[in-house]
Each structure stands twice: as structure tokens, then as C-alpha cells.
């Protein structure tokens, strides 16, 4: 992991006023956050949240089944959220958690009503605009019993060159029979330092589905979100798409701990390095039976860089069913020629194979986000081939 000196960033004094209508953002910012999967012009949202530099600038729920508050407002309103805040993550875990705990700028508190099926996704955007800004956010998501919600969160800097740090704590609570789909798209730049710290708990029959997309350069990013399946029949799935261009240092993984019988999990990562360093971790632990988990990490090196895959399985009881598959390879010539025989030129054929490899369709995304991802896939090839 690259060393980070938090003194290089200003963690105070970069406040922003409320932005009542996000459509008034300037075109560049809009474009940047669109590439982080957030379309402010879209009406397809049950709630909209935006945090810019060190302030929550927009926070509105449009669905009666969904509560959305700025983190600090929620802390005040609910007596410091004793059930939820800092319950899954130790505030003294590392210098980044300490930094956030000492001066939380904001973040979202999202809670569904029991049984509420929120039809439209929650749109959230964490944005770094000022140079040298340090951002401390804390997010809490509570999916009450039998409810369902999809959160789409995009994190972005204003420019590919913005020098900034994002530190984010996120705690997920998926209660009995609840379902959370959490899609996160990162659109940083080569001078961004990113340290998310995320942990979640899933109760009986609950489902946690994570989609993560990182297609652009990031200076240094390290995260290892963990989900605890504590109730019978709970399910966790992680799908990640990670591309590391030259100059990127990315150390990420997903971790699932199965503590109850009949739990299942799947961690699937597709990574491409076009010159950067990519450490792809994965960890599945089985502490109750029956439980089943599969970890899959496939990587491609296109033109340079390093790929280090570290899959781990930890079983402590007889009868667990855990497996992993890791591979680092290249685009096969016979696949390219197969498509060229159908009339595609080499760039088209490569982009089609890369898109398939990245398994974008598995996330079931559509609209501008799917389009933005497609555009970025095409850029990978032109840069690398």
C-alpha cells in the first residue's frame, strides 16, 4: 500500500452551501459525476444526495418509504444513533477512521420503512472539487425488515488532476428479509487518495448485493469491505470491475464472513491493468454449516503493470463448501480472429472481448451509467492496444 500523509490535505475550511437543484451544477461537474454513474438530470431516483468537499449540499427523499438525512443531522436527531454509528467499525481502527471520527463532514443516513420496496434507486454523489481537499464522510444504511432498496453512489473528483483525499466510513444493516443493492462507481484521478472503510451485517434471509466499478486512474485506493452473514439463509454477492491505468495503485478486495447456516456468498472480480498496480484480494470465511461460497478473480494485463491476486478461504467447521478461482491472462488471438471473421476490425473485436471479460452485463445496469461504462471500455482498448 502506498503511504498516505493526511497532513497533505486540508480537512477543514472547505465548506459549500446548499445546492437546491443539482441540475444547476456546471457542465464539467455534471459530466464527471455522470461517469461516476450519477445522472442529475434523471427523474429516476427515490432520493438524491450530494456531498461536495466538506458539506452536504443536497439531501432530499422523494419516497415516503425512505428516510434520507445528512449524517450529522441524523446523529443529532437520533441521539448519536447508538444502534448504528461506529458499531461495525472501530473508530480507532486506523488513522483514517480516527480522522473521520474526529471531524465528520457529513455523509448519508438512509433508512427504509419496514416492508417498503423502494422502486427507484437512491442517487448519491460524493464529490471533491477543491484542490488539496480532504473529505471525511460517514454513511449509514439501514434496510429494515422485508424492505428493498437500490443505492447508486458515485464518487468523483472535479478533474482528473484534482489532488484530494476521500475518507469514507460506511456501515450497512440489512435486517430480516431485507435486500440492499449497492452500486458504487468511482471516477477519481491520478492525484486522488481514497480510503473507504465499509462493513455490513445481514440478518436472516437478507441479501446484500454489491456492484463496484472503477475504470479510471486513481493515485492510491485501498479498501476491503466486509459483510457478515449473521442470519440463517443470508446472501452476499460482490461484483467488481477494476481497471488500473498507468500511475494507479489499487489494493481492493471483498470479504464475506458466513456465521450462520444456509448462508451463501459469491465474490466475482474482473480486473484489467493497463500499466498500473492492482492487488485483488478476496476472503471468504465459513463458520457455520451448511454454507457455500465462491470467490472468482480474473485478470488481464494489457500493455503492462502488475496484477497480484490474493484469494483466501477460511473454514473452521466440517462441511463448509468454499471454492476459489484466480487467473491472470491475455486476450486470446483466436477470439479476436473469430470476431474479425464476422467483420469487426481489431479494435472492435478487442473491445467486445474486453466488455465480455469485464462482465458488465452481470450488474444489470442500464441508462446513462451503462453507456458511460461502455464508453470507458472503448477507451481502455485505444489506450492499451
Amino acid at each position: 500500500m502506498k503511504d498516505v500523509n493526511l497532513k497533505d490535505f486540508a480537512f477543514t475550511g472547505i465548506e459549500r452551501g446548499e445546492i437546491a437543484d443539482l441540475r444547476t451544477l456546471d457542465a464539467n461537474d455534471k459530466h464527471r459525476i455522470l461517469h461516476a454513474g450519477v445522472d442529475v438530470d434523471s427523474a429516476n431516483a427515490s432520493a438524491v444526495f450530494m456531498h461536495m468537499d466538506q458539506s452536504t449540499v443536497h439531501c432530499k427523499s422523494r419516497d415516503p418509504g425512505l428516510e434520507l438525512l445528512d449524517f450529522n443531522v441524523a446523529m443529532k436527531r437520533y441521539d448519536n444513533l447508538p444502534e448504528y454509528a461506529w458499531k461495525l467499525i472501530d473508530r480507532d481502527k486506523d488513522e483514517f477512521t480516527k480522522n473521520v471520527a474526529g471531524n465528520t463532514h457529513g455523509g448519508y443516513f438512509i433508512r427504509t420503512k419496514p416492508g417498503a420496496k423502494i422502486a427507484k434507486p437512491v442517487q448519491s454523489c460524493l464529490f471533491l472539487k477543491a484542490d488539496n481537499a480532504g473529505q471525511n464522510v460517514h454513511n449509514i444504511v439501514v434496510v429494515e425488515e422485508g424492505s428493498e432498496v437500490h443505492i447508486m453512489t458515485g464518487c468523483s473528483t472535479a478533474h482528473g488532476s484534482t489532488h484530494a483525499a476521500h475518507l469514507g466510513i460506511t456501515e450497512f444493516y440489512v435486517k430480516k428479509g431485507g435486500k440492499l443493492t449497492f452500486t458504487m462507481v468511482h471516477n477519481w484521478g491520478e492525484n486522488a487518495t481514497v480510503r473507504p472503510r465499509s462493513v455490513g451485517v445481514v440478518e436472516e434471509g437478507g441479501v446484500f448485493q454489491s456492484n463496484y466499478v472503477l475504470m479510471n486512474a486513481v493515485g492510491t485506493l485501498q479498501m476491503y469491505p466486509a459483510i457478515y452473514l449473521n442470519g440463517r439463509g443470508a446472501i452476499a454477492r460482490f461484483n467488481s470491475i477494476i481497471v488500473t491505468p498507468k500511475g494507479s495503485h489499487v489494493d481492493t478486495g471483498s470479504r464475506v464472513i458466513m456465521n450462520a447456516p444456509d448462508t451463501r456468498c459469491e465474490i466475482i472480480a474482473r480486473t484489467i491493468t493497463t500499466g498500473g498496480t492492482n492487488i485483488a484480494r478476496g476472503h471468504i470465511a465459513g463458520h457455520a454449516v451448511p454454507c457455500r461460497g465462491h470467490l472468482e478473480c480474473k485478470g488481464l494485463i494489457l500493455g503492462g503493470g502488475q496484477m497480484l491476486a490474493i484469494p483466501e478461504l477460511d473454514a473452521t467447521v466440517e462441511g463448509v463448501d468454499l471454492s476459489h478461482e484466480a487467473a491472470v491472462g491475455k486476450i486470446a488471438q483466436d477470439e479476436i480472429e473469430y470476431l474479425m471473421a464476422r467483420g469487426m476490425d481489431e479494435a472492435e473485436a478487442t473491445s467486445t472481448i474486453v466488455r465480455g471479460f469485464l462482465n458488465v452485463d452481470i450488474m444489470g445496469l442500464d441508462g446513462p451509467l451503462a453507456k458511460a461504462i461502455q464508453e470507458q471500455v472503448e477507451q481502455i482498448d485505444s489506450g492499451a492496444m
Binding site: E337, M340, R342, M344, I353, G356, L358
Partner: protein, 267 residues
């Protein structure tokens, strides 16, 4: 349509085609016979333009254009299509998506096309992933239907196919070669059909495909040389009775009167 002149091809150091001359006319279906390792597949691969098949001499002309060294995708766009015998699996690429890409922007109905090769259930599957022999053939035909080439290369359309599938595949191959066209009402089909017929070069071991298609001409490829031009059924019959041994004699026959010709004259 396709003219091959004194074509010589090597794979690495090994010469696999040693001076091939072949002319396939517009709308004609040509059958290529030959034992394993005779260079049949190499000829198809070279015509399509695969890497690894180095043309060391001769010339390939397609519709008047020299394509000897043309990139594969340009040949495809000119109208050459190929049915692969062992196509690679491409993970994450849905059959439906590939079929659409084969059409290159032309309006097509993948569902209706897939229905014709009994392949609708496979449209959402990754291309070639876990496909059986018959499924690969149907998938290849579906892609060719979408691509609509004017000249098709078939590498053993019957290999690895059970009898039930063979009938379906045979019919679809025939339809492809006959040129599919929705005639305007009252139009005379015959002249139009002749014009729209797709040309084809088909490799066959067993000859089963001959039960379904109208093959015009055939020839045997043996150790990189073409020989024994005759009607495909006669060649097949001859090979069934005598094997390919006769081809050696034929190659050494200076008169040009091949054993096959002899058989035919005698009968």
C-alpha cells in the same frame, strides 16, 4: 467470384498448400474432399485470412479484388463468411449480441432467425460456452444468416452432429446457399434466385451434407495438391469404394485422365 491461382501456403516452416488453382463461379457450390491433414482446413483458413497461414506464393482474387494479403475483417465485409468447426468461447458475450454485431447495422430479427435454427433458448447464453457439436453448428449458421455473406466457407458442417440436427443443419445450409429472399408478389423467382445464390466452398469427410444441398463441382485435396475434379457424388462414391489411395495414382497420371473419369466413362 473466387479465383485462386498457384497458391502456396506455409504454417511455420511446413508447406501445407503447394500450388492450388481453383475457380469458383458466382452462385456455385464447390465441395472439397480429402483425408485428414491434406490441407483442406488450411485452405479455408487462408481464404479467410487467419494469422499463422503465410502465403508464400500465388494469388487470391475475390470479386475482382486481390485479397491475398487483406485483413480478415475486410474480407468479411467484402462478403466472405465462414462457419467455424471449433470456435472459441467468449465469456460475457451473449449469442444475441454477437448475432446483432454480425449484421453490422442491418436491421435483423434475432429471435426469428434463431427460431429457424431452433436456437432461441441460446440467445442469452455466452457464445459457444458449453455448446455441443450440433449447437455450435446451429450457432455458426445463425451468425452467418445475420452476416449474409455472398460466399461461405464451411468446415465440415456435419462433424459432431447427430442425425436429427443434421437434417436441420442441412436444410439451413441449403437455404443459405440458395440465397434467402422475400420475393415481391408476382415476381418470377427463377432469374432472381440464380442471381442471388450464395457461393460456397464446403469441406466434407462423410458427404452427408450432399443429401441436402445442390453441389455443383468437387475436387480432392491431397497433400496440398488439388486433383480429381468430378461431380461431388461421384467423388464420394469413389472414395467410399477405394479410399484416397487412388488419388496418389491420379496425381502421378500424366495424361490428365483421372481414375474418376475412367469410372465415369466406363459406366
Amino acid at each position: 467470384m473466387l479465383k485462386i491461382e498457384d497458391l502456396r501456403v506455409s504454417i511455420g516452416e511446413r508447406e501445407v498448400l503447394r500450388g492450388i488453382d481453383l475457380h469458383i463461379k458466382e452462385g456455385e457450390t464447390f465441395i472439397l474432399f480429402g483425408p485428414n491433414g491434406s490441407g483442406k482446413t488450411s485452405l479455408l483458413m487462408t481464404l479467410m485470412g487467419f494469422s499463422g497461414y503465410t502465403v508464400t506464393g500465388g494469388k487470391i482474387t475475390f470479386r475482382g479484388q486481390d485479397i491475398t494479403h487483406m485483413p480478415m475483417f475486410e474480407r468479411a465485409r467484402l462478403g466472405i463468411g465462414m462457419s467455424f468447426q471449433r470456435p472459441p468461447t467468449i465469456h460475457g458475450l451473449k449469442t444475441r449480441h454477437l448475432v446483432q454485431m454480425c449484421a453490422r447495422g442491418r436491421e435483423i430479427d434475432p429471435e426469428a432467425m434463431a427460431a429457424r435454427v431452433n436456437f432461441v433458448d441460446f440467445l442469452e447464453r455466452d457464445i459457444n460456452s458449453g455448446f455441443s457439436g450440433g449447437e455450435i453448428k446451429r450457432s455458426e449458421l445463425l451468425q452467418l444468416m445475420a452476416q449474409k455473406p455472398s460466399f461461405v466457407l464451411f468446415d465440415e458442417p456435419e462433424s459432431g452432429v447427430d442425425l436429427e440436427n443434421m437434417q436441420l443443419i442441412g436444410k439451413v445450409v441449403r437455404r443459405l446457399l440458395d440465397g434467402e429472399v422475400d420475393l415481391p408478389p408476382g415476381a418470377c423467382a427463377k432469374p432472381l434466385k440464380c442471381k442471388l445464390r450464395t457461393s460456397g466452398l464446403i469441406i466434407t469427410h462423410t458427404g452427408y451434407i450432399l443429401d441436402y444441398i445442390n453441389a455443383d463441382r468437387g475436387q480432392v485435396l491431397y497433400e496440398g495438391h488439388l486433383c480429381c475434379e468430378a461431380r461431388p457424388r461421384d467423388i464420394l462414391e469413389h472414395i467410399r469404394s477405394f479410399g484416397y489411395q487412388e488419388c496418389i495414382k491420379c496425381l502421378n497420371e500424366p495424361s490428365g485422365l483421372t481414375p474418376l473419369d475412367v469410372t465415369r466413362t466406363a459406366s
